[in-house]
Amino acid sequence: MRVAMLGWEFPPFVSGGLGVHCFELTRALCARGVEIDFFMPVSGKEISSPIPNLRIIEVAKTQLRPYLFFSKSGQRATYGQNLINAVNEYSAKCAETVAEYARQRRYDLIHAHDWMTARAASALKKSLLLPLVQTFHSTEFDRTSWPWDYILDIERAAAANADLIIAVSRRTKAQVMRLGADERKIRVVYNGVDMRRFASAQIDGQAADDFKRNRRVVLFLGRLTEQKGPVQFLHAAAKVLSKDKNVLFLVAGKGELLPLLINMSLQLGISENVRFLGYLSEEDQRRIYKLADVYVMPSTSEPFGITALEAMSCGVPVIISKTSGVAEIAKSAIKVDFWDINAMAAKILAVLYLKPLAKTMGKMASGEAAGLSWEKTAEETLKVYNEALAARG
């Protein structure tokens, strides 16, 4: 089977779960004999295919970004006419490039990820007469509290045009249905985690001890945007610190809320116990989990939440919001309402101080993560491919 996959990011050019998903998914699919041409924007980084059967094709430069719509001053920098132009421009170029490649080798199927690639995918479905599978890693409803009609329209069209839709959780499935998609063509395929990737991460024990100085470490890792819940995280931190000063809160990631969060940590009087780490390199991301005594993912709206699985694969106890896709499958996690700051703080304290709890959760977490592999994700994605092909006859 040969697939033209329209993506947005690929390691080392990654700003979120989408890039991780594309890398792990293509790798596992190619291992199953699927040939993939992966079309993405020019990244400016050295991206080469790590695997046979996979070709990475950089289409064109674009100012579009899947997540970071905000400039430093907090404005939605690329919104407005600029964005519309950029979408039209990239979609046209992408469709053109794929069509060109299709003349040399015939594709069986188009697989598009998220809204940025949807227009090109729809055009190609018509011109090449191929089945189209569309994955939703998130919807506009998840990414912002002020959904923009323009993007919603693209997502609605994507949902309508796809032969089959993959949603990364039941929660996302419900969101996609809000876009008007027919429930019968949505398949839920959960993300996975690569245990090996985290098992190999090393951290200098002495350096870790020097850093922690007998303090317990609570980790937040994600884009600093509203829906990831960093505000809730800091408020929970203040509650925890009201009971115990010997806890360090790490905030890893960047995003438009950073200035606000720094101010907030000062206003709450907890700045001494909060460290903003900025965006972590891939290697540091793998290592940071080993420093953590508990990982907290307080997202207000999280289509899936791959980081929770990553922390689990490192045997770190995780506390996640009920409004996350990963909460549907993670039995070893404590689930809280993102708005219930007291409960979140109480659970953090419990994990930090009830040793049998942390031990039981950690043990269960790594066992559970081992069963949630990308191979499984690829296997189920392949089933969706075959279903889409069969429906076309």
Partner: protein
């Protein structure tokens, strides 16, 4: 062939969500969720206890040979008094027929036998006897929490004056032997073990409404036919009383099944109903069983792992146990009662982290989102109790 039907009747004293930030708004000692407990008690009363008891009473009136037996925990009796007194009255009405037997157990549905010091276990058995004596005749047959049983348990229970004890009829203790006889117990003199026929019990308790089951739907005439084909002295059908109307809702036909059963059984002249104490009087022990490790009727493992299988459960249990002597020293009735309530086996059951099918059963019964939440809430409350205890000692 005697048919012995026994029902366990219990409702746990569920804990209120404890706020470590001091925002709990609960009365009394604040540990128990009166609102939730009363809500569940009233719901189960109307779906199960009231209709099942009234059906049972009419069956006893209509069929003079019919017998039934129960054990009611003290925790259940207290909640009846508090939230649904009419339920208690309906059990008293059954007791007055003289053909419903009420077995002994630990008042607090506790794991007290597993404490190193057995005095607490003995105290809870005595408390339970007193509570039952208020409305029924006490029984010479004992049933430990969740049918926990071993040679040592049987020995202690025999010393307390009992002549019979209930246990799970497991293959690994029976070997080639049948559960359909009474057995002596290794190391004991005269106590007889009544072994649950778990297949025939679970046919009603678990599988009655299971559409995947090849015998679905189960009818009273079919079930009576199965009973009639058994060999032995007696068959022990033990299950939770909540089977009727709660585990299997009324629309599954579970009440109709029960209603038809005595008449169907009476069609076979060699079948009769008996209570546990009647069995103990009537039949000798045919052989001896040897159970060095504690068995129970819970989960696939049928041991104590449903309550003490993981580190969280062991930690919580050992803290509870360690507070015992200090609690009793205070001689403060309220503190002692609270400590004993915190010993309900249910609190530990909710902390179970077993995977596979058993987890679903634990989840079904649990008021918590996860076993971790159960442990956190329990420990917060037990720590709070520990502080109250320290205050009491200082006074």
């Amino acid at each position: 062939m005697e048919i012995c039907i026994y029902f366990q009747v219990h409702q746990p004293m569920r804990l209120a969500p404890y706020s470590i930030f001091g925002e709990s708004a609960r009365g009394g000692d604040g540990y128990f969720d009166d609102e939730l407990n009363s809500q569940i008690m009233r719901k189960v009363a109307s779906k199960c206890y009231i209709p099942a008891n009234s059906l049972m009473l009419s069956l006893l009136e209509k069929h003079p040979e019919f017998r039934v037996s129960y054990s009611l925990t003290g925790v259940f009796l207290e909640q009846c008094r508090q939230f649904a007194p009419e339920v208690l009255e309906s059990f008293a009405a059954l007791a007055r027929t003289g053909r419903a037997e009420f077995l002994s157990e630990t008042y607090y549905h506790s794991l007290a036998y597993l404490f190193a010091d057995k005095d607490e276990f003995i105290a809870q058995v005595e408390l339970h006897q007193k509570a039952i004596a208020e409305f029924a005749q006490t029984s010479p047959v004992f049933r430990n929490t969740e049918a926990m049983f071993s040679n040592d348990i049987a020995y202690l229970v025999e010393r307390l004056g009992y002549s019979g004890i209930l246990a799970e009829g497991l293959e690994h203790i029976l070997g080639w032997r049948s559960p359909n006889y009474l057995y002596g117990v290794r190391g004991c003199e005269r106590i007889k073990a009544l072994l649950r026929h778990y297949k025939l019990s679970d046919d009603i308790g678990y599988r009655f409404s299971a559409k995947w089951w090849s015998e679905y739907p189960l009818t009273a005439d079919k079930y009576a036919r199965w009973l009639s084909q058994l060999q032995g002295d007696c068959v022990n059908i033990f299950m939770d009383y909540e089977t009727f109307g709660e585990h299997h809702w009324e629309d599954t036909g579970i009440f109709k099944f029960l209603e038809a059963l005595p008449a169907e059984v009476e069609k076979y002249p060699h079948l009769r109903f008996s209570t546990p104490s009647e069995l103990v009087l009537k039949f000798p022990a045919r052989d001896e069983i040897d159970v060095p490790q504690v068995i129970s009727w819970a989960d696939m493992e049928r041991d104590t792992s449903a309550w003490l299988g993981n580190d969280m459960q062991k930690d919580a249990f050992s803290l509870l146990e360690s507070l015992g002597p200090a609690v009793k020293e205070t001689k403060d009735a309220q503190l002692i009662r609270t400590w004993r309530m915190l010993g309900n086996s249910d609190h530990f059951y909710y902390m179970c982290t077993k995977s596979l099918s058993d987890q679903d059963v634990h989840n079904y019964f649990s008021p918590y989102d996860s076993p971790f939440d159960a442990y956190i809430n329990y420990m917060n409350i037990l720590r709070d109790f520990q502080e109250k205890l320290a205050d009491a000692k200082r006074r």
